[in-house]
Subunit: 535 residues, 2 copies
Amino acid sequence: MKPFLLSVLSLLLLSGSVFSQNKVEKWDVFELTLDGPSSGNPFIGTTFSAQFSNGDKVYEQEGYYDGNGVYKIRFMPDREGTWTYVTSSNKKELDSNKGSFECSKPSEKNHGPVRVRADYHFQYEDGTPFYPFGTTIYEWPFQDARTKNQTIETLRSSPFNKARFLAVPPYKERYVEGPLKITVFPFEGTSRNNWDFSRFNPEYFKNLDESVRQLRELGIEADLILFRPYDKGKWGFDMAGQEVNRRFARYMVARYAAFRNIWWSLANENSFIKNMDDKDWDELFQLVQEKDPYHHLRSIHNADRIYDYTKPWVSHVSYQYYNVVKAPYPTAILRDIYKKPIVNDEINYEGDVESRWGQLSGEELTFRFWNALIGGGYATHGESYKSSPWISIGGRLIGSSPDRIAFLRKIVETGPTTGLEPIDHFYENNMAGKAGEYYLVYFGKDKLNKWDFVLPRRELAAGVKFKVDVIDTWNMTITPLNKVFEVVPVPGNRYKFMDKNKSAIKLPAKPYMALRIRKVGDGKKVQSDGRHELE
Amino acid sequence: MKPFLLSVLSLLLLSGSVFSQNKVEKWDVFELTLDGPSSGNPFIGTTFSAQFSNGDKVYEQEGYYDGNGVYKIRFMPDREGTWTYVTSSNKKELDSNKGSFECSKPSEKNHGPVRVRADYHFQYEDGTPFYPFGTTIYEWPFQDARTKNQTIETLRSSPFNKARFLAVPPYKERYVEGPLKITVFPFEGTSRNNWDFSRFNPEYFKNLDESVRQLRELGIEADLILFRPYDKGKWGFDMAGQEVNRRFARYMVARYAAFRNIWWSLANENSFIKNMDDKDWDELFQLVQEKDPYHHLRSIHNADRIYDYTKPWVSHVSYQYYNVVKAPYPTAILRDIYKKPIVNDEINYEGDVESRWGQLSGEELTFRFWNALIGGGYATHGESYKSSPWISIGGRLIGSSPDRIAFLRKIVETGPTTGLEPIDHFYENNMAGKAGEYYLVYFGKDKLNKWDFVLPRRELAAGVKFKVDVIDTWNMTITPLNKVFEVVPVPGNRYKFMDKNKSAIKLPAKPYMALRIRKVGDGKKVQSDGRHELE
């Protein structure tokens, strides 16, 4: 592996034994640097934290050892004004260090960390909606500088606002020899023969710091995967045992929680880590929950044994279940089961590799994305062409789905601010939006030549007027129809409204078509019949 | 309501102050009858139970007050040989009553209670597989004798081996006036003005006893629904409060647990009972779990808020979610989420009523049944024609789906004894059976004119030979093909085997077709490539 980029902050460290900023913008990282003992094992037995206060806001933030006698505390202030802090430690040099700093208002593109909104959606802490359109670049932090820069440039012009990647690389031949050989590992040591699992290697994490920071500067959420099973016994990082796992998780939280763009992904394909069971994951979840003062989003990405996402420390579902996205309605079912946002974080990848998880056409990946969104959830992209293994290394995108995902994202972002909600979803299959006002109807692979203008009764009133856009989701065209539809109840049917002239909409008998139906005029509200939704 | 049938046992009661059988067959009901105090309120504050022993088997079974100074204990012996018992009570007359009886071997049609088998399926306690093909007759115990007899006769010649029904009738006009007027209620009193929720009405439950017993004699599991929301404030049985609910659940368990065909359905559409939340249901589940010595199956039937079926006291999923059965794969997803048997207990009903839950064609209901089974789960029938409201009152069946369900049941019962397991189910959509040996491929509404003989690699070996039946699931025909298929790996594809002659199977381009593919000869086992299922 190439030498890591030196971060600006590590350069600043040279200036003295205590360093901190005087000023930081809201939701940026305030970093306090102290010199302390380097003897013994600073990773074990040294307690170090600070209490940060601003009015009635009080946070406890753990610090971390950064090597060479340097200790740091990173803090994310979430209120403007003066923050004061005081450190606590069982080491004299690190204890009772006091100070203060000013927190200024966030800059234009800084909306704070992402939170769950209205059970099934997300928003930034400042209230701006966040619709995750993620991508997958598992190993991007471990590539050479050229590839990393290319990844950054690709992301900059992509539709993606969330990136899933590994905190610890998978064991692969290319990281053991050749130009990408990794020489700096998360633990001290150079090979399985001499790991010291009681000592982290700060140099390793400085690279990861930079990766998280670069994504933050792009406005991309870092869906950081703490544990992974891809070791095949070669390095043994996934078999180090729960005590080491706990220490690792705690170190990661101390080091990264102050980055506003962090999402904690406890693991990728956790059930493939054979010496860990769900109780171990419960424990690590709770540790992260306890130690992260800012309560970043927390999930875990399943393999064959699905973790119980109803558990209270899980903020959202990070799913791998390809059949869920073969139609819109399974995602809607998952919403009702988990009562949390559903992110289909692995839906197979566009590509041409021999493994069937990486053989989707651009059409199929786009189709699955639409299904996830019409089901009231979200999805994550990945691309695995032999000539461009984006999901592994990043670099460039050559597939056809990203443009279509950008097109979909634009539709979603100009839709209801409440996100796409499945409409009348115990009976309907392919419709989301905001009942009464906005309907996105997706036909998937069905090749319809017409669609009767009939909508579920919910929230409708006789006389409400609509305009319609015909959307070709593959060719990325939006064709407004020069016509106004006005709804009346369907005679003899309690559940449906239709256009008063029984109009139908012509469709081109092609797959991947959709309709956007938006209210343009009010009608006369009819009394609800008070029936339960399931009737 | 018509006078209840007197049960044989209540007649026998006339013979003395203590009555019990000398002999009972395994898994039948041993009933001990004692005279005790009738003063005060025997339903409150009187403890009464017995310990039953046979070798190292020891059970504690609560008794119940049956009115007129009569106390009973019902016990289900599950081991042949001599059982002894001794009662305990805080009332002298009921305490320290001892005795014994002989338990003989079960008669031919008695297989014991139903248990969960291999996570996703069921079997009787004697090991006989049980494949639930349920139906819904919510109010059948509350009908006149003629209708009840008709229901029994209909069930006798039906494919149904499980019946869902209510322990307490819904409030409906027809039960308040006219020939079906209910005069005997679960609680003492005659109307909302004078219920005594501290006293049950034993007469009411004698009728229910008979209903459970009649189903048992037919070999039909009684999926007995303890609570229901269908009161609309008129009787108030669903608003009596958690203390009354607890007492009711405990009384029901004391009274019915000894019937081997009992399944506890804690509620129908529990979230529509507005003054109860999931914690109340948790409590009632745990009460039933604690008090039922035989651990009958326990579930709850959801409405809009889905109960967390992962909770440990839930034995299986009793779902209402129509979209789950619009394709096979959502049921397979539910298996992976809940890790329990999935019974789609409400999939809409065949019928012609105005409510959309009762407007399915026979074709559609049959289609949904097949989907549930191919997804590795089960389904429950219901019929709601205006001229014959089977789901409410029972009586006669006039729909077209029961014959098709009988046809499906026969296929399932002659299939793998391990039940239908979804095959390669993270990628496949429409295939269940036993990988390598038996495949049921269901095409649903797709109108194929041919199907290429290609199977997932899992458990296959080059040279394995198969014979194929073409099944018309609607017309109920099974057409064996006069041909043997022999599989070889598909070149360049890690995941598939095909017929060595690249044969395809002709299909009639109609909906609702299926294939049954059964191994008739072994091949040469090829080494598994050891890849994870998700790859």
